[in-house]
């Protein structure tokens, strides 16, 4: 198993406030890696650095390297737009484009990037909706508004939309926080299935979710990487006392 993403000495700032301190970790391919930690520990900032979305905020700064298949995505000649086509993202609150149909939402990434061939779009839309386990529920209503779906379905639509551009990595920022438990469980099962074809990195404030869903877990605290290991080890026998305290609920 190889490392899809290598993070080397990554630090990030919002203006003068440093939010990430010298993070170094290697993320394996085709597994689910979870990032956990109390509020404000920098986990969302960390994944937003992986697809170069952190820098969109005014005053944001990043130093360090992030290697995708060995190449630094922050190097001078790399266009952030191409990085984001290889590393997709799903957000906490489902955000389908409100004025587009389910079909158009799924195909949005492709259409906005110039793909016009109807045939190819049809194919990819179906493939993506199937991969997001949403096809059977919407196949007869592809023209309906994306916003007319339930919360869980909307999130799966957003996942389908992200899958349609055929990324290699999928970042998920607390993907089930805004959903009810049943919908959340469906997404968790979906995440495990997705890991077979993609490298999935998920941020979650729900430790039990990280325990269920991930193969590797990273624990962040106040911007530092405290511990990183297999989920089994982290949850049965963490090496750091801080990790133990967080996991057993003593703080956070």
């Amino acid at each position: 198993m190889s490392y899809k993403i290598e993070i080397q000495n990554l630090s990030a700032w919002f203006g003068s406030k440093q939010v990430l301190q010298d993070i170094t970790m290697k993320i394996k391919e085709n597994i689910v890696t979870a990032i956990i930690g109390p509020s404000g520990c920098g986990k969302t900032t960390l994944i937003r650095c992986l697809n170069r979305m952190h820098e969109l905020t005014s005053g944001a700064k990043v130093t360090g390297r992030v290697l995708l298949d060995g190449e630094d995505i922050y190097s001078e000649n790399v266009d952030p737009v191409t990085v984001r086509r290889r590393i997709g993202m799903v957000f906490q609150k489902p955000n389908p484009f409100p004025m587009m149909s389910i079909y158009d939402n799924t195909a949005a990434g492709l259409k906005l990037n110039g793909v016009a061939d109807r045939h190819r779009l049809d194919e990819i839309v179906e493939k993506s909706l199937r991969a997001a386990h949403l096809w059977n529920e919407v196949k007869l209503e592809l023209g309906k508004s994306g916003a007319s779906l339930s919360g869980g379905q909307q999130q799966r639509l957003c996942i389908a939309r992200a899958l349609a551009i055929e990324p290699e990595v999928i970042l998920m920022d607390e993907p089930t926080s805004a959903l009810d438990p049943t919908a959340a469980a469906k997404i968790e099962q979906l995440i495990r299935v997705l890991a077979e074809d993609y490298t999935v990195i998920i941020v979650t404030h729900n430790m039990q979710q990280a325990a269920r869903v991930s193969d590797f877990t990273a624990f962040l605290y106040l911007g530092r990487l405290v511990e990183y290991g297999s989920t089994k080890d982290i949850f049965e026998n963490p090496k750091s006392e801080l990790t133990e305290k967080y996991i057993t609920g003593e703080f956070g």
């Binding site: 697809n51 979305m53 969109l56 005014s58 737009v81 191409t82 990085v83 984001r84 086509r85 997709g88 993202m89 957000f91 609150k93 955000n95 389908p96 484009f97 409100p98 004025m99 149909s101 949005a108 990434g109 906005l112 990037n113 309906k144 508004s145 916003a147 007319s148 957003c158 939309r161 992200a162 551009i165």
Partner: protein, 278 residues
Amino acid sequence: MRSYRFRKLQNRIMISLAYVALIIALIPLASILIETINRGLSAMSFSLLFEEIPPLGQPGGGIGPAIQGTLIVVALASIMGIPIGVFSGIYLAEFRQSHIASVARFLNDVLTNVPSIVLGIFGWALIVVAIGWSVIAGAVALAIMMIPIVTRTTEEAIKLVPMTIREAAIALGVPQWKTTLTVVLSSAKKGIATGILLAVARISGETAPLLLTILGSRFWFNGFTQPTAALPLAIFNFSQSPFRAVDLPRAWGASLILIFIVLAINIIVRYATKEKYG
């Protein structure tokens, strides 16, 4: 218990006051509409709409050229003003922090409050002096009037588009400029259309700039570099004419038509930007 009843009474008094205020506010509006519709309808006829403007006091004829003139000048002004206004609004919304943006925003706000007659003089000095009383001069003056309104409302409409929609598009690998021009603009289109409507409705009824630019005429449209008639001017002239019996009804008719045009624009634009999914 006593204070509860007192509070209920207070509540009722407040609500009643609010209602009364509302009615008072609506009275002028209602009476304008009612008067205009009443008197305008009685002056309405086929010939009113389609015949040439007769000299003051002469019966017969209509205000056809005025209708045509208004439509042409407003259309030309819109063609010039809307794109400039919308793109300025987009610029201000997207480059919020830049120095140019702050300066531009300030100038924009000032321009919104410039008296329309000043814009008229500007149009006169710029164009009439060069090429004479003309439709172009009028359109330019009205366009300058339109731009700040459209710019401001476009900027607001775009600012209202939630960050989540932008982020969703950017995360799909869509460059920022494309995100703005497609997804963001699409989301904001209702707001932008409303702004445009406001602006168009506003300029349709402006009289002062037209006085100093298109001059007015009794005849049909004759070329962009020639003067032309317009409804506000027609209303002004007819209502001030000494031949009240003949001309006043024409003024009311013109008023009704003007209101009708604005209403029609309203409905058309709302329909065109109707959200497919309400």
